[in-house]
Amino acid sequence: MEAYDRVTAARAKGRPTGLQYIQTIFSDFIELHGDRRFGDDPAIVAGVAQLCGMPVTVIAHERGGDTREKVRRNFGMAHPEGYRKALRQMKLAEKFGRPVVCFVDTAGAYCGIGAEERGQGQAIAENLMEMMTLNTPVISILIGEGGSGGALALAVADEVWMMENAVYSVISPEGCASILWKDKSKAREAARCLKMTAQDLLQMNVVERIIPEAERSFSQICDGLRSDLLETLRREKEMEPALLLQKRYERFRRIGSPDAD
């Protein structure tokens, strides 16, 4: 399967969204709203839920199902208040010692006048910084499109997993093609060059695990994820908190370092 076909699959209509993953993997999800500074961003959902009885904090980009819902949720492209809401929930998770599970699915952080006025860059930067030392296990799963800083703001984690047909990139293939070749139609080629598929990223040690999608129903995928999450979080819970943070730091530290193996 070509890189661009993965992009198409990741964006496909009807692909399960963040909320669907949350509702299928976890039980008793209670959504908690607002960033306490400006408003509530429907492009990101966050709250508490149970993973086989264990309390966890769950955060997800939500693109929305039907058109009306998509518009209301801004197609999963968050404003600064979305990232600040996510950080608020992560801080609560740290306080109450619950692990954090994030589902990433966004074309990118929204670029608009309000987003800039309220500090889109600052909001993302703060998440990157705070997540790096968040004193509780964090796992992020890329379920669809992982678009640049807007995706990374929910993906500074101890482990990052990726659905087989998800993509993760510094820029969309269309954006890359139009900047480099002034031609959006070369997106296919750009997708190949950007090395944005799950296989590519596993090879570069940017993700730890690929979740297979082929010939599996959504509920089978979620059953698998539930047990994978439980197993990984259990392992991380047994780790010294300082060691967990050290490993998280090193996880990103080695990427692109000439000293890395």
């Binding site: 952080a109 670029c111 608009g112 006048i113 987003a115 800039e116 006025e117 309220r118 500090g119 889109q120 860059g121 600052q122 993302i124 930067a125 703060e126 990157l128 910084m129 705070e130 790096m132 030392t133 640049s148 800083g149 990374l152 703001a153 500074v156 993760y168 990139s169 510094v170 820029i171 890359c176 900047i179 480099l180 060059c193 950007l194 090395k195 944005m196 590519d200 990223l201 570069m204 940017v206 730091y249 990103f252 530290r253 990427i255 692109g256 370092s257 000439p258």
Partner: protein
């Protein structure tokens, strides 16, 4: 020889923004005069260099390369460079990237998009990084991320404050996801430096955008900027294309960002050294009471 862009009329406000003029270094004056992109005055190169590359007529801050800035900010002879030889390679096998790197080296006379080291500013020892606009517009690839991370790690180890000048078009596309990861990597190093009680001052210069804004440019204890610098996450062109509308005048300029509460101060170039020295001195380590004169 006159600047080639001198008579080219910009088609719109955004295009005119890009009409920066490179100031020739004093050792190789191939241009006698340049035109100010803001007030269109014709200025003698010599007068401009003597005035910190600020237009004496309207106060427009011309773009400066990293070495010029270091000369301006660091005490004479105090700058000691770190990781000077580190160079990018084509990690993803991206088409034409080697050629771009080669051009960037030629254009900037630097090995990469950031210059790092230690320096004294008004006698205060600090880590210093200055991004290089003439190297692929200071875009952040793995080497830029690595150099900045190393600087913060060094500063943490030696309990040094860090002063950083940013100028960047964002993450470097040609290194794909690896450049995106540098945002997390540098943020981690900044956080550790901060948690150890060290000061970080960022000075955002024109333009600071994209992945650099969304990481170490916006993570300082004190964030300063030069007048009229463009500061934002998304570039103005991208926003205009997305919204299909013109942006209001002054949008994303330092004065606008200041008004929205994201900058501590806007400091003119001639005042920056003294300003930084004062801030560094005020953040000296130890018990603040021991400095009392009463």
């Amino acid at each position: 020889m006159l600047n080639r862009n001198l008579f080219k009329q910009p088609k719109n406000a955004l295009e005119s923004y890009d009409r920066h003029v490179k100031i020739p270094s004093p050792d190789a004056p191939d241009q006698m005069c340049v035109s100010c992109p803001d007030c269109k005055s014709i200025l003698l190169t010599e007068d401009l260099s003597e005035n910190f590359s600020v237009c004496p007529k309207c106060g427009y801050h011309f773009r400066m390369n990293a070495r010029q800035r270091i000369d301006l900010i660091a005490d004479a002879g105090s700058f000691q460079e770190m990781d000077a030889q580190m160079r990018s390679s084509n990690l993803l096998g991206f088409p034409n990237y080697e050629k771009k790197l080669w051009h960037a080296r030629l254009e900037s006379a630097e090995n990469e998009g950031v210059v790092c080291g230690t320096a004294k500013i008004g006698g205060n020892v600090c880590g210093l990084f200055v991004m290089e606009p003439y190297y692929m517009m200071g875009s952040m690839g793995t080497v830029v991320g690595e150099k900045i991370t190393r600087l913060f790690e060094y500063a943490t180890e030696h309990s040094l404050p860090v002063v950083g000048y940013t100028v960047s078009g964002g993450a470097r596309m040609q290194e794909g996801i690896l450049s995106l990861m540098q945002m997390a990597k540098t943020s981690g190093a900044v956080k550790r430096h901060s948690d150890a009680g060290n000061l970080y001052i960022a000075v955002l210069t024109d333009p600071t955008t994209g992945g650099v804004t969304a990481s170490f440019a916006m993570e300082a204890d004190i964030t300063l900027s030069e007048p009229k610098a463009l500061i934002g996450f998304a570039g103005p062109r991208v926003i205009e294309q997305t919204l299909r509308q013109r942006l209001p005048a002054g949008f994303q300029r330092a004065e606008f960002v200041f008004e929205k509460g994201f900058l501590d101060d806007i400091v003119k170039r001639p005042d920056q050294k003294a300003y930084l020295a004062k801030l560094l001195a005020l953040h000296g380590k130890g018990d603040p009471w021991k400095h009392t004169t009463e």
